[in-house]
Amino acid sequence: DPVKVAAIYTVPVEQQWVSRIDKALKAAQERGEITYTFSENVANTDYERVMREYAEQGMDLVVGEAFAVERAARKVAAEYPETAFLMGSSFGPAQPNFAVFDNWIHEPSYLSGMIAGATTKSNIIGMVGGYAIPEVNRLMNAFMEGATAVNPDVKFLVTFINSWYDPPKAKESAFAMIDKGADILYAERFGVSDAAKEKGILAIGNVIDTSGDYPGTILSSALWHMEPTIDRAIEAVKSDAFEPADYGPFSFMSYGGGSFVVDESLAPAEAVAAAKAKEEEIKGGLFRVNVNDTEPKSTM
């Protein structure tokens, strides 16, 4: 029998972050390993009820984000030991059935930072984010660290637009940064790459690969792949071996959960080489990218 999987998202499935989970689950469904259903845009106050409803429906695995509902999510999981829960969380796993994951793609973010730092001419990089939450901050900080590592003179402009979904606003923030001299934009939100494309400058992708939509604009991207995480969890549930583990590491580059792409026609060859070399070091465990969850600030 296919494993019954339900996902609970607090945002619409188009949100970059969630879309990666959705994609991995859909792929598993295509392969016939699971049946997949989801609820999107679930309000904070409803989250617990939705978890219980899925558990009551006899789901084998519930995937979701526990970030703002940490306590309730853990309590529900404890009450339904028959169901496996795999939740996005900043905290650790919990017995008997609460496993956690997170988008640990600070490694490729660091690498894309290296490319950006070496490519910028104005030495100003603009970064537009949604909200300053750890999941976002972590990637931005790693990116900034990578850029400064190769180019100590680079300065950053940081703005949060306080919305996951307001591409026009993100675009305006990006334009403002271009006005201030930024020649590379870190596109945490939809809308930023559009501004870069319109003004003929470069953008850095994040989580999803948008280079097809903006040919010639996306310099480099840090991509997140949920397949290693999801596939392991499904396998564990299928073989009755689900453990309340931290699935976070499966987002690391070494497991293929994070990857780094660069448009070599846009970046200096030596920068690409340096980044590729660093990638190998990371995969081989020779280099550790710092995890820094504090809110990044402009440095100009």
Partner: protein, 360 residues
């Protein structure tokens, strides 16, 4: 040409008849998107009823969702009675919640019988004070309160975010913008084991009785009604119009603030910036569905909560996009709104004879 004639007092049987008609109309209209989504309508409705009333779990969930709606509904109802158009219950709710966590997370310590009232009072006060600003701007400077209350919602929500990312952030929260958890002694007790339903419901029900009593039986209530129905005449008759507006503003804000207290101290345990899925705005709908009656607010809130929880659960059981739930709520709201007309007016086509009737 359609004409409306106001009706006099309405018989109970008619009220019930119209409510049933409204419900049927809502169900028929809501069937359209269901068919569009390829559902079997009958099954969907069975699932909806089950989802809201079909089990103790469903029922308590429905009540849990109704609790803040009763309070924000009351907040709108009192204010609208005085024609003080408070569209800011959403912001006041957050202010109440913020005050509740400010007080309830260790600012003071003590046993439950000290902390719980302290949290409640703090939340009510914060909500009231927030509403005081637009009220004073209205009475002193003549600034339209629809707009100020609406805009303050955004300001307060941003302020809450600022607090949650700054001074009030939980140091144990791994950097997430959330407050520290409310102390156990400061939390509103649960009403049932293993269920989310909490004392916020009791507070809400008590508040609705309180507001009913206030409006019906007290001098202040009399003054509120007089100011709302005709401020000029009220002022001429020596009723302190400004003072009445201020009282109403404080009360309305406090009720919305209590909704915030219930959500953090009764339900969530800590504050995040996505605490409320628009309870403040839905409160307006609840209040108007109830015809601004404080008792009616309870039933209107139960209705809205039932439709939402039921439809949401149905969408999950059938695998249809859960946006359907919001759609069904909206359709039901509009149907009930229209059917209310049949209570207040008798509707005739032009040229037809009116029935002789003794009510004037």
């Amino acid at each position: 040409m359609i004409r409306f004639e106001p009706r006099g007092p309405v018989a109970v049987s008619r009220t019930i008849g119209v409510s049933v008609t409204a419900a049927v109309a809502a169900l028929v209209l809501a069937a359209i998107p269901m068919l569009f989504a390829g559902l079997s309508v009958l099954d969907a409705y069975v699932l909806m009823i089950k989802g809201a009333w079909g089990s103790m779990f469903a029922f308590t969930e429905m009540l849990t969702r109704a609790s803040p709606l009763i309070l924000t509904g009351l907040a709108a109802a009192v204010a609208f009675r005085a024609k003080l158009w408070n569209i800011g219950a959403e912001g006041q709710l957050y202010a109440g919640a913020l005050a509740a966590v400010a007080v309830g997370t260790g600012l003071i310590s003590g046993p439950s019988f000290v902390l719980v009232p302290a949290v409640i009072v703090a939340g009510a006060l914060a909500g009231g004070l927030v509403m005081l600003v637009p009220t004073l701007l209205k009475t002193r400077l003549g600034v339209d309160e629809v707009v100020t209350t609406l805009l303050l919602n955004f300001v307060i929500l941003l302020f809450v975010q600022m607090m949650l990312e700054g001074p009030m952030q939980d140091p144990m929260g791994m950097g997430w913008p959330q407050s520290e958890p409310i102390l156990d002694e400061a939390a509103l007790p649960k009403l049932m084991d293993r269920m989310r339903i909490h004392w916020g419901l009791v507070i809400a029900l008590a508040a609705s009785l309180g507001v009913y009593f206030l409006l019906k039986r007290t001098v202040w209530g009399f003054e509120i009604r007089a100011v709302g129905e005709n401020a000029a005449a009220a002022r001429h008759a020596g009723i302190p119009v400004t003072a009445t507006f201020i009282r109403v503003g404080l009360l309305s804000g406090a009720l919305a603030g209590l909704a915030g207290v219930g959500e953090v101290a009764g339900l969530k345990g800590y504050l995040t910036a996505d605490l409320s899925p628009g309870f403040g705005y839905s409160g307006i709908v609840v209040a108007m569905l109830a015809g601004l009656s404080p008792i009616g607010v309870v039933f209107a809130a139960l209705f809205i909560a039932s439709i939402f929880v039921g439809a949401d659960s149905m969408s999950r059981a059938t695998g249809v996009s859960n946006y359907l739930a919001d759609l069904i709520v909206a359709i039901s709201l509009l149907s009930v709104l229209v059917s209310g007309l049949f209570l207040r007016f008798r509707i005739r086509l032009a040229g037809t004879r009116p029935a002789r009737e003794s009510a004037k």
